[in-house]
Amino acid sequence: MSMAALHEVVLDQVATPPALQSGGMVRLLTCGSVDDGKSTLIGRLLWDSAAVTEDQRDAILQASHSRAVNGEQIDFSLLLDGLQAEREQGITIDIAWRYFETPKRRFIIIDAPGHEQYTRNMATGASHADIAILLIDARHGVKRQTRRHAAICDLVGIKKVVLAVNKMDLIGWSEPAYRAIETEFARLAQGFGFTEITAIPVAALTGDNVARRSACMAWYDGPTLFDYLEAVEPRVEPADAPFRLPVQLVLRADGDFRGYAGTVASGTIRPGDRIVDARSGLGAVVRRIATMDGARAFATKGDAVALQLDTELDISRGAVLSEVSRRPINADVLEARLVWLAETPFDPELGYLLRTATDLTPVTSMSVQALVDFETLASTPAHACAVNDIADCRILLGRATSLDLFRDLPATGNFILVSAIDGATVAGGVITWAQSGAPAVGENVLVLDRALLARGLCADLGDSPADTAEFHRRAQEAAILLRSAGVPVLVEI
């Protein structure tokens, strides 16, 4: 096919340009195993919904023509694979973010890599999504990586899933084959918390049931992918959710202004409402919700504001302001399900920090209890976990922090684990159980503080940057040795 002919085929299908205004925003993840056609599906969706500009069209046509990966067809995946290594290898390494709008709404598309090796990038993408499109190659059905991606979608809190059974053209548009995959997925999803699963048979390369209803699959009477996306309600917030505002920082300005700045994680707050800091138990009344655009009558989930209170609370970043009646848990022991993201496996002897909404808390000890088996999706007892594993863990903290259970309040019930040594994000997880004041934990913890170390181990060190770095290094090494001897350690320097 010539370039000109390619142009003709494609421009025919271009929809009308978007309207001037746009309403809400839908964050959409595409995931599934490698080679199931994710980038192609999204490329096709963008192409058919006029979200591709002419210079991009030309570049894609040019590249498709020279590469001819799909025979003589257009390689839509080139729209998303933006890194040189991705284009060279024809695979997606990292998530690609794409934006488009229709007359009805604004979309953020998060295209996740399918390779097992890049699961950490997939998990990053999934955590930002309202809806997941899980792709399955109709020829191969549900694979191990499909189950892993479904489990990660569930873990990070996605409630609505589109099961896009792709490459229907390659199985002769067979309804029985499609129904078998639909049934198999429904069975495996029983253990997950998805509220809605919508299966759609598609062929991304030809565009069947993407934006255009397929003539080859008359037996399918559900929506096209595009129709579904324009109509779906992305996320429904409970009307009466408890109020939470994790404090990011305290703003001070002339005229004794003091504002507790943060983004409302849940619920609604109004001037006159009583709030409490769960960790200290200190309470106050909201005097004013301050923004540069003036005081507000209320602030609700997602609003970035600063609260002025009737009394100054001695709190800082990490505190969670909440309503008085339904407070967060002031927890120092918790259980969690997490996905391990670092190349280096979990090591009980290393130091980790628990990062919740805005707090960073030292982990005193952590143990793996079970791993998810990606063949059966059942939990099996285990004591170790490594990259791409989903694990159930128990974590003891060096001090209490305010948090919620993920199933109740996702924004204050999720966390990442941070390496105390190099700052890397090693895992992401959700809190499944938590309790305050676990007996015996506090008493047995050895606190390695500055004074203790300066007396002996670090007595030869001064204040220079090199000495400070060496001080930290020795503290971490001492902690590692003590932990390996079974002593719970907290480094506080």
Partner: protein, 301 residues
């Protein structure tokens, strides 16, 4: 005209959250202010994030000495009106070597006067975090960026080693020698930027609006002649044409577009109907395949 739409409110709140997270976690941040529409929105959001206090960081402008005169005037007025601290940095070594956009290919000029200059300025200031106005919709490699984009020693971006970034939990713990670029406008599009400028009634450099300007056409690109440093080819003569800019950079390397859009409403309409992408007018992006990714790996923000 546009009204306050729900998705702009979401984007604004998300950006303010990012500014606050960075200010709370990094020792010494700086805002890369490049005077254009994205920087205008970026600065406005920074003011909102810390209001009534001033943003707790200075602005940094990397001046290649080839910025439009209108841009410099706008920069100085903005900084003085808002009472902000501005650091202006030029790579004087590059200047002394006579590096300029006429005698040197765009890749060399950009590397010396922009990328190296930026690295110099960040190192000199001891900054561990730099806010930038880059958006993921601009270009393919930018579509792969994190909000907190970690750079190894030497400010290098390693796309294969990006940190996981889950939910809204932005991890600002730096490893040895690492610094970070922070992109609060990651999820904004070009159209969002303009809609927000209209909604918030923000002032922008007049070059974004169509006017009669002296123009030379080269390889189909419209180059506006900003001063007498322009090198005309034999037979070339600047002619007055009604043009405006979608994106602003160094003047001989940033092409204008033919346009009648003289106000914000017209600019927004034109943006939504645009048939080519925004950075098509940035000559430096097309120098070689994967040009932007190469520049980012070397420390271009």
């Amino acid at each position: 005209m546009t009204v306050l739409t729900s998705h702009l409110k979401l984007l604004e709140a998300e950006s303010i959250h990012i500014f606050r997270e960075a200010a709370a976690q990094f020792r010494s941040p700086v805002l890369l202010y490049s005077i254009g529409k994205d920087s205008t929105v970026l600065l406005h959001l920074a003011r909102k994030a810390f209001w009534p206090a001033k943003p707790p960081f200075p602005l940094l402008h990397v001046d290649t000495t080839w910025k439009f005169r209108d841009m410099i005037a706008f920069r100085d007025r903005t900084v003085s009106d808002l009472g902000l601290d501005l650091i202006v940095h030029t790579n004087h070594d590059g200047l002394a070597r006579g590096i300029n956009p006429f005698d040197h290919p765009p890749s060399v000029y950009t590397d010396v006067m922009k990328t190296q200059a930026l690295r110099q300025a960040l190192d000199a200031g001891g900054f561990d975090a730099a806010f930038g106005g880059a958006r993921r919709d601009e270009e393919a490699s930018r579509a792969k960026e994190r909000v907190f984009s970690f750079r190894s020693a030497g400010h290098r971006w390693e796309p294969r080693r990006q940190r996981p970034e889950l939910w809204t939990l932005l991890n600002g713990r730096l490893g040895k020698g690492e610094s970070v670029r922070v992109f609060p406008l990651s999820n904004w599009t070009e159209a969002d930027v303009w809609r927000y400028i209209a909604q918030e009634k923000l002032d922008v450099v007049p070059l974004y609006f169509a006017a009669e300007r002296p123009v030379v056409e080269r390889d189909g690109q419209l180059i506006v002649v900003d001063d007498d440093r322009m090198r005309l080819n034999p037979g070339e003569q600047p002619t007055l044409r009604k043009v405006r800019f979608r994106t602003l950079g160094c003047w001989p390397l940033t092409a204008a577009i033919q346009s009648d859009a003289t106000d914000l409403a017209a600019v927004i309409e034109e943006t939504l109907k645009a048939k080519v992408s925004e950075r098509a007018g940035r000559l430096i992006d097309h120098d070689q395949a994967g040009a932007m990714e190469m520049k980012k790996r070397e420390g271009y923000f």
